[in-house]
């Protein structure tokens, strides 16, 4: 084996792992890697304008494609700027490898220039991390990093690379196989538990499937669909699983939880069996946990044993891969009709549809409905966080997995725009939208430079109400309309900002202008920023107030 430098080994690892795109930002401690990338045309490097955006873009790329996303940052501030992005990926189980430069090994601990203890900082927000102190370990570490990121419950792995390691060389080859005695993710469900669950399903009259992001990670949408239809069981999904089950299907209950549909939440309250798959009973889903699914037994399928019985007691836990377990469950269950239960649910759907007041003003919900209509429901929808995210979740009909990309667990404002860059690069043939708020968009607005220079044709739809809308909504409902520090109206002029970055900008102020603007945006080959001036005090409904039970939803409409 010929000698290669650490930097060469890193780039070779990327090629061997099938990486075609990396997102990053150079700096002193990663120059050796960038020097090798200079001669590596098969890897596209996208330079963002902030390291956080590089991490979110790698995350968006991973969610849109199912492949491992890769980002690179320098030591110190470069590495700490990745932290929010890594935490975002960790909370939503996104496979990511973050490569950071580090000061040379002999300087570590000396408070050297641009030194930060990034492995220490990221212990609790990575699936695993490494500080490479020996060049001979580098090939194995990189191989493990990719394997850990994508296997089991996926997650981010950080590899910290001191500059002298990047420059020193070794003959140690990139390993072909992984051998780790301490990490063997469990994939097959216990057959006894699966049979027990199948019997419980056959015995149930009013079951509900509560599907989470694990369906998407495990590529189990088809298995979910077949299992649900075989047994005539209604399906509700979390925010992370939107698109994992087609919402235009009669068995779909759409999203549950704080801003879920009434019928999904009522179904959970009335169910005699909840089948949770790849979901983790997050507080935004359960509401008051003591009153969650009070009449139901719970089957919980998850690849991560720590997710089971963390917040609710589970009757039948099954640890393993959702895809495999769902297909086995389908074959072991009898396929009951459950007409009475589905009739009841149809009644609720009829009585409590998602709706909004049409008063002639420009409504955010209308904008989302139009985006669905004009793209034929085929767009990849990225969102920011807050009201824009909830309206996108509620009023777009999600029918395809990996087409809804949103920061669920961490709720990171500023996520959507860079994530849409990653998604668009991962799926260049498709239309990618970032549904934004004026607050969130400003958190990574500098990425207009990235989309402009690289001609990444994402369509940004800012639902601009001049407020930090979700906080304003809470202040209105629970703090007597004391709007403290939420009015951010007036500046900037988003159309002018777009123009400054040589990006097309469109302002939309009337309902009748929505459709022409969207059509124009889609006809433009490059990126577009649409500034929708929506009704300022529109709220997201229905809503389960924090700490209330799911049946205690409130509504702003008569």
């Amino acid at each position: 084996m010929k000698k290669r430098t650490g930097a060469q080994i890193v780039v070779e690892a990327l090629i061997k792992e099938g990486v075609d795109t990396v997102f990053g930002y150079p700096g002193g401690a990663v120059i050796p890697i960038y020097d090798v990338l200079y001669d590596t045309p098969q890897i596209r490097h996208v330079i963002t304008r902030h390291e956080q955006a590089a991490c979110h873009a790698a995350d968006g790329y991973a969610r849109a494609t199912g492949r491992v996303g890769v980002c690179i940052a320098t030591s110190g501030p470069g590495a700490t700027n990745l932290v929010t992005g890594i935490a975002t990926a960790y909370m939503d189980s996104v496979p990511l490898v973050a490569l950071t430069g580090q000061v040379p090994t002999y300087m570590i601990g000396n408070d050297a220039f641009q030194e930060a203890n990034i492995t220490g900082i990221t212990y609790s927000i990575t699936k695993h991390n490494y500080l490479v102190k020996d060049i001979d370990e580098l090939p194995r570490v990189l191989k493990e990093a990719f394997y850990i990121a994508r296997s089991g419950r996926p997650g981010p792995v950080l590899v910290d690379l001191p500059k002298d390691i990047q420059n020193s060389s070794t003959t140690t080859a990139y390993p072909e196989k992984i051998k780790m005695r301490s990490y063997n993710p469990h994939c097959e469900g216990n057959p006894k538990q699966i049979k027990l669950a199948a019997k419980e399903i056959d015995d149930s009259e009013r079951p509900v499937i509560y599907a989470g992001g694990g369906i998407i990670s495990s590529d189990a949408s088809r298995e979910l669909y077949e299992f649900a239809h075989h047994n005539n069981i209604p399906v509700t999904t979390t925010l992370m699983a939107l698109g994992a089950f087609p919402e235009d299907d009669p068995l779909s209950l759409k999203m549950l939880g704080m801003h879920g549909t009434r019928y999904a939440n009522y179904a959970i309250c009335e169910a005699d069996l909840v089948i949770a798959v790849g979901a983790r009973f997050d507080d935004r889903i359960t509401g008051n946990i003591a009153e969650f699914a009070p009449k139901a037994k719970i089957i919980h399928i998850d690849i991560d044993p720590t997710a089971i019985s963390k917040s609710v007691r589970v009757d039948i836990p099954i640890v393993g891969d959702a895809k495999d377990i769902l297909s086995k469950l389908k074959s072991f269950t009898k396929g009951k009709k459950r007409d009475a239960w589905n009739r009841k649910i149809a009644e609720w759907k009829e009585k409590y549809p998602l709706k909004y007041e049409k008063n002639g003003k420009l409504k955010p919900q209308f904008v989302i409905e139009k985006i669905y209509e004009i793209t034929g429901g085929k767009a990849v929808i990225c969102t920011e966080v807050g009201q824009n995210q909830m309206w996108a979740a509620q009023f777009y009909c999600h029918t395809r997995p990996r087409n809804f990309i949103s920061s669920g667990g961490l709720g990171t404002m500023g996520y959507g725009f860079p994530a849409s860059i990653g998604a668009q690069i991962g799926r260049p043939e498709e239309v990618v939208f970032d549904i934004a708020g004026d607050g969130s968009f400003q958190m990574n607005i500098q990425e207009l430079a990235t989309v402009s220079k690289e001609n990444i044709p994402v369509k940004v739809a800012i639902l601009n109400n001049g407020y930090l809308g979700m906080v304003r909504q809470w202040q209105q409902l629970f703090y007597k309309r004391r709007y403290s520090q939420v009015d951010i109206s007036g500046v900037p002029d988003f159309v002018e900002v777009a123009k400054a970055y040589d990006v097309e900008g469109i302002r939309i102020e009337k309902t009748s202008d929505v459709e022409p603007a969207l059509k124009k945006a889609l006809s433009i080959k490059g990126p577009v920023v649409m500034d929708f001036r929506i009704e300022r005090e529109e709220n997201v409904y229905p809503m389960v107030p924090a700490g209330a039970a799911l049946y205690e939803m409130i509504d702003g409409l008569a």
């Binding site: 220490g120 212990y123 102190k133 089971i308």
Partner: protein, 160 residues
């Protein structure tokens, strides 16, 4: 209830920080923690005493197993085990107290490891009961300094 959890880990840089970080991030408490190399120098064994109800302990064990560098986790609490702890205690020892303390040393099979005109330093090894027993008896003399290793434990080998 207190649980004794034995954790086998890869003997690698930062493993203790990972475990400490996990406990603090998840809000778990640690009563004591002892760590050292095992018969295999690439493996360390950590014995952690954790207070908590069954649900907390279940999470502690699962979360530990989830750490990539953790090889094996066993809850020794309800299993036949040998557990030991070592303490060093510096006790006031003037006049006739010295004889009294020497007698306790003999009864508890402790050792005197440092002698000073006004104090004696004792080394005591034993299970929790024994350690607590001698500490109760030493207290009236005045314990000037005390250091405990934390519990270490091994499963008993089952005779077949």
């Amino acid at each position: 209830m207190k649980h004794i959890i034995s954790v086998e880990v890869e003997n690698r840089f930062g493993i203790l920080a990972r475990i400490a970080s996990l406990f603090s991030a998840r809000g778990f408490n640690i009563d004591s923690l002892a760590v050292g190399e095992t018969e295999d120098p690439t493996v360390s064994r950590i014995t952690i005493v954790v207070p908590g109800d069954n649900q907390v302990i279940e999470q502690v064990i699962k979360q530990l197993r989830k750490l990539i560098d953790v090889i094996k986790v066993v809850d020794l609490t309800s299993k036949p085990t040998v557990t030991r702890e070592l303490i060093l205690a510096r006790v006031n020892a003037r006049g006739k107290d010295r004889d009294e303390i020497m007698r306790l040393v003999e009864i508890f099979r402790a050792r005197i490891v440092d002698v000073h005109p006004e104090s004696l330093t004792l080394e005591v090894t034993g299970d929790e009961e024994k350690i607590n027993g001698i500490l109760t008896l030493l207290k009236p003399f005045g314990i000037k300094k005390l250091v405990r290793t934390g519990k270490v434990a091994l499963l008993r080998e089952i005779k077949s």
